[in-house]
Symmetry: C2
Subunit: 336 residues, 2 copies
């Protein structure tokens, strides 16, 4: 990897963007020039990268032919407007917004389906899936190698930071208002999220299915290459700042002994299987870490085909920025 | 019901006890004398009941032959010490602590298994099950009448008030410390529960099964009279003051059309099925209410045998005190 690459980071001022800057430095990604981009409003802000201060510029004025890879972490609308420009300029796109369809931008979790890139042609347009999908794919892949999965039930408690900086601010504000016994007027959410759980995240269709849950299922099926896998997904907004937590129950086609599952998971570099009797939490384990923490691994009651577990990981880091950087690392290693 | 009954309330100063006092008054339960009991430490405190102030006395000095019904809401140890005395004095026991085995004290949810009392002999020793069991039983009973349930997956996010007054105080204290950026030394819990989710509630056995989850499954099987029902239960401690929330996925033996499920639930007096597209929350709907709120009712994706839903209800009220009062109402109507 003696070559180095010019990179554009769209959404540099956001939670994911800031973490992307950190990770590119920390992982010594071979960057020749890093272009930090955001809206016109934050143009002029600066961020430290490798001891220098880099200025944020307006993405609308950016010439994508200067860069080889562009990370899109600025929401769906921005990806829709600017990813085609980047692609037309021959630049590889790594989208984090979910704006692109699964066949336009295959979802990649390098530990799991790196090989899916092999069949593609440049310019590469790839996407990092939803944070719970990164987590589930990494945990399920080693199990799926040896067992047939019949059915998966997931309750994903999403951190408020999935709503970006505004989400974090709103949870802090609501909490402070309530602790001070002041009347609460929710913003950003249509109701109180502090000290509460919201059972619906984003829009719901006429059948009561949340679009986010449909996307979670479709992305997971794509990443695991199990298009027929039956998944019941419920996404819940939790009053947690950082770290998604997933309660998972899975049914295999035959007995899936606990010891085999443990053995399959313990060897995975992305995973941290906590000691028996202990369990990981968002705040205590996941925040700021690269790993996906797994705990409460247990067999079903009187059911050797059922396995239950708890997963937690940093939604902004492993669930988004780190996975995206790993996709970029995969690209430069084999394809660019 | 012209007769009236002398009642003992053990744990009168607690969250559940206080709600029991309120409900006995509100529902015009035929009380001749109400004896409020707790530990020696709170003897002397007083609570209003029907316009009078009643003094709390030490349960250790109480003569149970004075009363016909005793509510035990003071923890397992207190039930173990004093329920046998009450029973020996010929008094009906309604336990809320979970201390008694399922065959010593059958779990009763009057809307669901009132008939289970018919086979018993006085003195009656009955128990109100765990709060999520009250909720699940009321929601599942109407479905089970018409369909075979094959499998149930439940993630129960428990309110901190399941740990009593101390739990409520600790969540408020932790939250205030964190908002003021002061170092946190958790009490009551072994880690931070504010802005976090704890995937393990209470003790876990050698197989990784939480005793609380085992109890949930066994109680639900008993109340529904479905001893073979396969249940995967995960209990999580949420940073919510009042109101348990349950994410539920169920598999039927054959197609379970959404419209049929809606029709079955909408007629139940204990349930409040929220409008399609809306969803209930602990804070916004459940707290202080008698009803069990059901929302996000939806079919499985491409699976007509699967149904998913969200349930929330006040753990202290419907999940404990109200169910216990309903058990007492059942007793005095038919058996005492
Ligand atoms: N947070 C997560 O857990 C997570 C996980 C996976 C994926 N993602 C995705 O990552 C993206 C960023 O999320 P985030 O949490 O970092 O959000 P955020 O903190 O709200 O940051 C949003 C970023 O987008 C930029 N932006 C917004 N509108 C723009 C516009 N019209 N033109 C140019 N830039 C614009 C913002 O720049 P300004 O400062 O100029 O407004 C900011 O840099 C989103 O697409 C999100 O869905 C987030
Ligand atoms: N909270 C819930 O959501 C819920 C739901 C279902 C069942 N329950 C059960 O209901 C019971 C009460 O729960 P809670 O939430 O009301 O708890 P709480 O607020 O902590 O109150 C505990 C009560 O128990 C009394 N008590 C404790 N130790 C005692 C002793 N040695 N002798 C006599 N009284 C004693 C306390 O009296 P002092 O004031 O004298 O200490 C107080 O009245 C527990 O068994 C709990 O498992 C609770």
């Amino acid at each position: 990897m003696s070559q180095s690459f010019a990179i554009a980071l769209i959404g540099a001022t956001g939670l994911v963007g800031e973490t992307l800057i950190e990770l590119l430095e920390e992982r010594e990604f071979p960057v020749s020039t890093l272009h930090l981009l955001a809206s016109a409003e934050s143009a002029g802000q600066s961020f430290a990268f490798r001891g220098k201060n880099l200025r944020v510029r307006d993405v609308a004025e950016f010439d994508f032919s200067q860069v080889k890879i562009a990370f899109f972490a600025a929401g769906e609308a921005v990806t829709r407007s600017f990813a085609p420009r980047a692609q037309a300029a021959g630049c590889a796109v790594i989208d984090l917004s979910g704006a692109l369809l699964l066949d336009e931008a295959p979802r990649i979790v390098p530990e799991v389906n790196a090989s899916a890139v092999a069949g593609l042609k440049p310019p590469y347009v790839l996407a990092s899936p939803l944070s719970p999908v990164v987590m589930l794919a990494c945990v399920l892949a080693p199990l799926v190698r040896e067992h047939t999965l019949q059915r998966l039930t997931v309750m994903a408690a999403l951190a408020i930071s999935q709503r970006g900086r505004e989400g974090v601010t709103e949870l802090a504000r609501q909490t402070a208002e309530l602790l001070n016994a002041r009347p609460l007027e929710p913003r950003l959410f249509d109701r109180q999220v502090a000290f509460n759980l919201l059972a619906q995240v984003g829009l719901v269709d006429g059948e009561g299915q949340a679009l986010l849950e449909r996307r979670l299922v479709a992305e997971l099926q794509q990443v695991l290459t199990l298009p027929e896998l039956k998944v019941s997904a419920t996404c819940v907004q939790a009053p947690v700042f950082f770290g998604d937590s997933l309660s998972v129950s899975l049914l295999a086609g035959g007995p899936l002994p606990l010891a085999q599952a443990q053995a399959a998971l313990v060897g995975e570099s992305a995973l941290e299987l906590v000691e028996e009797g202990d369990y990981p939490t968002a705040v205590g384990d996941a925040v700021g870490q690269d790993a996906i923490y797994v705990g409460r691994l247990r067999q079903g009651l009187d059911d050797a085909t059922e396995l239950n577990l708890w997963i937690t990981s940093d939604n902004v880091r492993k669930g988004a920025a780190l996975n995206a950087v790993q996709i970029a690392e995969l690209l430069i290693k084999h394809y660019l």
